[in-house]
Amino acid sequence: MKLDSLIPAPLRKPAKPGEGNGAKGAAPADLKTAPPERPTDTKKLADRAVEAPVDALAWVDQRTAASGFLTGMLFRKVPKGTNWFYTLGSATLFAFIVQAITGVFLAMFYTPSTTQAYASISHINNEVFLGAFVHGLHKWGSSVMVILIFLHMGRTFFFGAYKYPRELNWVIGVVLLILTMTMAFTGYLLPFDQRSFWASVVGININGTGPVVGPYLSDFLRAGPELGATTLSRFYAIHMLLVPGAIIALIGAHLYLVVKLGTTAPPWLKAKKPKAAAPVSQLNASANGSDK
């Protein structure tokens, strides 16, 4: 693939000796035989119009200094050997975004009350334009996100990506995993059919058998002696405000660290070291891990 043309020239890899044909385009035309055209008014206006978006961007950039960060982020190098396994994190992010968007539309029609929840879901499924489709996206998107987050965690585990200096990013990741499972648990009650009702009863009871905090946790979740109206609105608030907010904040921190630290290279790759340049102490430190 010739993707290099998408990279701004100063950031491109320099051509290797022998590549390219030295001469930089055609020779400049003679000024006498081809004098520069005088710009007409329309042409000037057209030029302005073309420049307008650039000017606007420059205006924003002067005030935010974002371009330095953005080019730094977009054109940062990812290490040699970066492969398809490294797409699992952004795939998880994508699944989360699908959940967020479809969730907003479901929230427009859903009523978190024990008497109306079931009917509002029927309404979404049967009457709302594309309702069943969006509901389906949200329902199956949750399974896909759970699968992807586990695959992504597996990748970082087997690649040893949780080791120095990325320990903190692993810890943030585990919290994201717990929060994602919390989303799955709290979302399951919302349709308020038999399946979701009894699964939540059992889930809350299981929490209640836990050591020390167990009973408090299940009391908090149930919000009363029986699973009922307060439970449902509590699950709803957790599912669409509390946990998503926390997830978004933590994904932000997670991605900040990804950009800041860079992603790992596959663990089986070793860089060829210029032997003479490395101090003796470090040669020893990496002596049994160098080139095969």
């Binding site: 993707l3 977009l74 054109f75 940062r76 190098k77 290490p79 040699k80 050997g81 970066t82 490294y86 797409t87 699992l88 795939a91 994508f94 699908v98 879901i121 499924n125 489709f133 509901h135 996206l137 329902k139 199956w140 998107g141 759970v146 585990f157 087997f158 690649f159 040893g160 990506a161 949780y162 080791k163 120095y164 692993w170 585990v174 799955a184 399951y188 349709p191 059919d193 038999q194 399946r195 979701s196 009702f197 009894w198 699964a199 059992v202 889930g203 299981i206 929490n207 058998t209 050591p211 860079g262 790992t264 290279a265 089986w268 860089a271 060829k272 070291k273 470090q282 430190a285 891990g289």
Partner: protein, 232 residues
Amino acid sequence: MKPADKQAYLEEYELLKKKGKPFFPYAVMKDSAMMLLVAAVIIAMSIVLGAEQGPKADPTSTTYVPRPEWYFFFLFELLRVIKPPELVPIATIGIPTICMVLLLLLPFYDRGPERNPIRRPIATTAGVMTIVAMAYLTFLGATGGSPTEIEMEVAPRYEAGKEIVAGAGCLACHKIGENGGTIGPELTHIAQLVPRAAIVRSVEIGPDIMPSYRDLPPKKLNELADFLSSLD
């Protein structure tokens, strides 16, 4: 990891990064292709599998069989694999809590400099075993039904008795069809072995470690016996 190891890693990483390609467009291309695939899968699932509703929630029905969403099957299965009631809290909260803590603290107790999975035999084995265990429990959960469900097809007039047997916890000890434990004798073909009256007597007396179900209302006891004496 010793300071020298950290230094060596950072230098090594710097070299590999220098030899790499820019995030845009190379990694972005792969990421986008993967995202398109994910989108296609979710859309296809939504269209093919839909989002049907079950019957409306009814807090007064006690015979409904609770089933979690599939990704909690492994937790649910722990409940079944670990039988004695006093161990249940350990199974449901203790083990997951310990696993989560172990997972969270992983970078702090696995501090060796080696990253290649082939040369980290302990970590790699532990990881593979965890995946196999979770996959196995999820498979059991997907195929086994829940601890209070009998998945046997029966004639409509035996449905009521089947629900009672399922709800009364007989499966904790008896196997009926595909479901249940092996502490007591299997009841799948009980009608071949003993007559109806003997079944009723067993249920009322509760031989050996089996609890007595004398307090069941006569109607329920009747339906239960009808169901069991149809199993031949």
